[in-house]
């Protein structure tokens, strides 16, 4: 399953990574080498095997449904690159 330049650009878009045009070809080469190596897994017989969903079997603990945290707006916003009026501020999204 070779990755072409168009696929690299599409995946970069999905991952929200801006790629310079000059970066696309070398990245495609790197990804193809790594994916080519990973492809050896296709040879493993996994017919009836259930995919792993829990590393160590562990039952989900129950707890009371009560408020245990909150009221820390200043803490939440303390590291924001830009905050205004108690909110995170971002470039305008509505025309």
């Amino acid at each position: 399953m070779a990755v072409d330049h168009e696929m690299v650009a599409r995946v970069a878009g999905l991952a929200r990574l801006k790629l310079a045009p000059a970066d696309v070809a070398p990245l495609a080469d790197e990804l193809n080498k790594i994916l080519g190596w990973i492809d050896q897994l296709q040879a493993v017989e996994t017919g009836n095997i259930q995919p792993m969903t829990a590393v160590i079997p562990n039952s989900r603990p129950w707890r009371e449904d009560e408020v245990t945290d909150g009221g820390i707006q200043d803490d939440v916003l303390a590291n924001a690159p830009e905050a205004a009026h108690g909110f995170f501020a971002v470039p305008k999204v509505i025309e």
């Binding site: 995946v11 999905l14 990574l17 990973i38």
Partner: protein
Amino acid sequence: MTIFTDLTLLAMRDGLAARDFTARELVGAHVTAVEAARPLNAFIVETPEIALAAADAADAALANGSAGLLAGIPVGIKDLFCTKGVQTTAASAILKGFTPRYESTVTARLFDAGAAMLGKLNLDEFAMGSSNETSAFGPVISPWRALGSQAPLVPGGSSGGSSAAVAARLCAAATGTDTGGSIRQPAAFTGIAGIKPTYGRCSRWGIIAFASSLDQAGVMARTVADCALMLEAMAGYDPKDSTSLNAPVPAYAKALSGSLKGKRIGIPREYRMDGMDSAVDALWQQGIAWARDAGAEIVDVSLPHTGEALPTYYIVAPAEASSNLARYDGVRYGMRVAPDGGTLNDMYEATRAAGFGHEVKRRIMIGTYVLSAGYYDAYYLKAQKVRALIAQDFEHAWESCDLLLTPTAPTAAFGLGAKMADPIAMYLNDVFTVPASLAGLPAMSIPAGLDPDGLPLGLQIIGRPLDEQGVLNASYALEQAAGFVAAPTRWW
């Protein structure tokens, strides 16, 4: 005169308890050592004032009998653990300046036990690497050098700041995290001990996430007993981490035993690789002999899917990373790059392009690709099935043995820059450590010998889920047999 920085953690604890020296003296000596070792680039942030304040608190606690398990012990914290009021970056430019308003569960436990934090330790960016060369704060240089050489070597990764700092006697112990070998491989490269406990033993709360089904915190120190004591302080159930295991934590250090009588130690035949480094192979054979001498029965076992572990890991880990790292978008914390007149999406893309380094981008791309529509079944689902087979291999092995003994890494430390051009060659460093990570098993590396260039090599012990005590005991037995005393010669 006592050289404080050469003491083991247990000797420090005993000396403090006997009031042979004060925590202020002990921690002060380490603060000085940290300042003198800046050429190693092991620390991203030094926190001498925090360390000395903790030392004073420890001295007071020791005087009034309220001292915790680690009172006055100088430790380093990998910069993947959020520390309240101290910059936490995961060695990424995208988090430069990020100062958490909360404390990770593991560091909170260490500080409650009285540990004195000397600073935040360098690592591979977001713990993605095996040589500590992907850090946005520059590579860590190993305190070790090959015989007759001045060439800089890597300290292993991703916990390379931790391994370098402990090996260079800058701190008694350090926290590490291990996703595919990031505690054990750097421990092996620098001649120290390191344990990755069972997945879920230590809370992940407040640890910057890389691959959530694999990430596990652990300890790096110069002896097995030191690791045992610090792990005791770190481990335990935490309701804030839904994968945390609700099981009692034994007093590991007190229960340490060097006898392997009645233990069956498995030697997995698939770990014998073609073209294996002869010094690594010889040490492995020596380790088998040591285990037998300590009373163990040696058993040949098979882990048939060992060869598929690395490619499985390089699907699962990037997939989880691409999801975890989606949060770095320039909105809530960290770097923001907003092009003039650009949209919100332009901001996301520019921020992430500027903030992430090359290896991180590469893994985000792989992860996004294997999770994308049309490829999910072929890659991610397939990998999770193979992962189940790898875990089954271990379950079958436990029918005939109690522990496994393998080399930790396929080679000794390599030169700075030697493997940066070839990602797959770099990934192969973790060939012996990744299978236990995929199965969530406790595993430890101990320093066991030197290669012909005078560089340390490690042996790995893998155990059943939650059998950290068994892993520590076997490691302790091998440590005693190996009598490893080599230390790097100071050049910095």
